[in-house]
């Protein structure tokens, strides 16, 4: 693996990788901001809305940039070619990215309904669900970073 770290990539791979990593960092930042605002709001509707908006305006675009970058770099490296077996770390990364994206979408839909209910003064249960899903996603993406950076065989 040390050899892998020391290997210099072809420069044509650098920009897609940059896009992928930047998107992933924005995604994780949006999730942390969202979870922090939702978790520490203590029922304050302004902070609950702020938490939801962090997920919608920061985490979701971050996920999109990360996923587009992932596909781009995977194709550059030839992992999308027919008959090429993909390594386990890449399978883990793609699985967590896609399942994570689905969970993010569900959390945004649930949270969106939660924000509407909040305006009507009907409790914060759905936004607490969004918080729980955000925390699960943060954990999942820590595993994804481990897989992408450590590249376990």
């Amino acid at each position: 693996m040390t050899t892998v770290i020391a290997t210099v990539r072809p420069h044509a791979w650098d920009f897609p990788l940059f896009l992928h990593v930047l998107g992933a960092m924005i995604l994780v930042g949006g999730l942390l901001a969202g979870a922090a605002c939702l978790g520490l709001a203590r029922g304050d509707s302004r902070f609950l809305r702020l938490g939801y908006r962090s997920l919608l305006v920061v985490a979701l675009p971050g996920w999109l940039v990360m996923r587009v970058g992932a596909e781009w770099i995977a194709s550059k490296e030839g992992w999308n070619d027919k008959g090429v077996p993909t390594p386990r770390w890449l399978d883990i990364g793609f699985f967590l990215a896609d399942v994570g994206g689905l969970i993010l979408l569900i959390s945004l839909i649930v949270g969106g309904i939660g924000v509407r209910r909040l305006r009507a003064g009907r409790g914060t249960t759905l936004l607490r669900t969004t918080l729980a899903l955000s925390v699960v996603l943060l954990g999942a993406y820590v595993v994804a970073v481990w897989a992408m950076a450590g590249k376990p065989s």
């Binding site: 210099v8 940059f18 930047l22 960092m25 924005i26 942390l32 901001a33 605002c37 520490l40 970073v145």
Partner: protein, 159 residues
Amino acid sequence: MSFVDWALVVHVLSAFAYVAGLVVFWVLVVAVRRTDTPAETLRMEPIVKVGGVAVGVGAVGTIVVGIYLAFAVGNYAIWDGWIIAALVLWAISGALGQRTGAAYMQGMNKAKELDAAGKTGPDEGLLALNRTQAGLILHSLTSLAVLLILLDMIFKPGA
């Protein structure tokens, strides 16, 4: 996975924590611009702490493990141009980040003073401090420095 592999994982996770902390602060920078009461300003303090912990852990983790990796990984040396550039940018981002924190703490301190004096209503002076232009510029520059570190780490100019 070898020890060096694990070190790389910690290095990258630290970088994620650093950027995630900066994103938390961006969310707060935007939110605080419409905050003119002491109570609402003070409600942001726990979230500031989350951002602060993420930035702190990220900054220490990236530099300590990064320097270790520069010595441990063959082909790389601590005096490589791109590694020196990263170290300089890391120091710049840290210094700018500290000044950003100081700029925004003026609003937090003012909110504490108003709260202690029993003034709970909207306050023009507090709003002006919360909308600090200096803080906004400093946070933008901190983010730019970290973005340049990421570019440097991936493109490795000269390597």
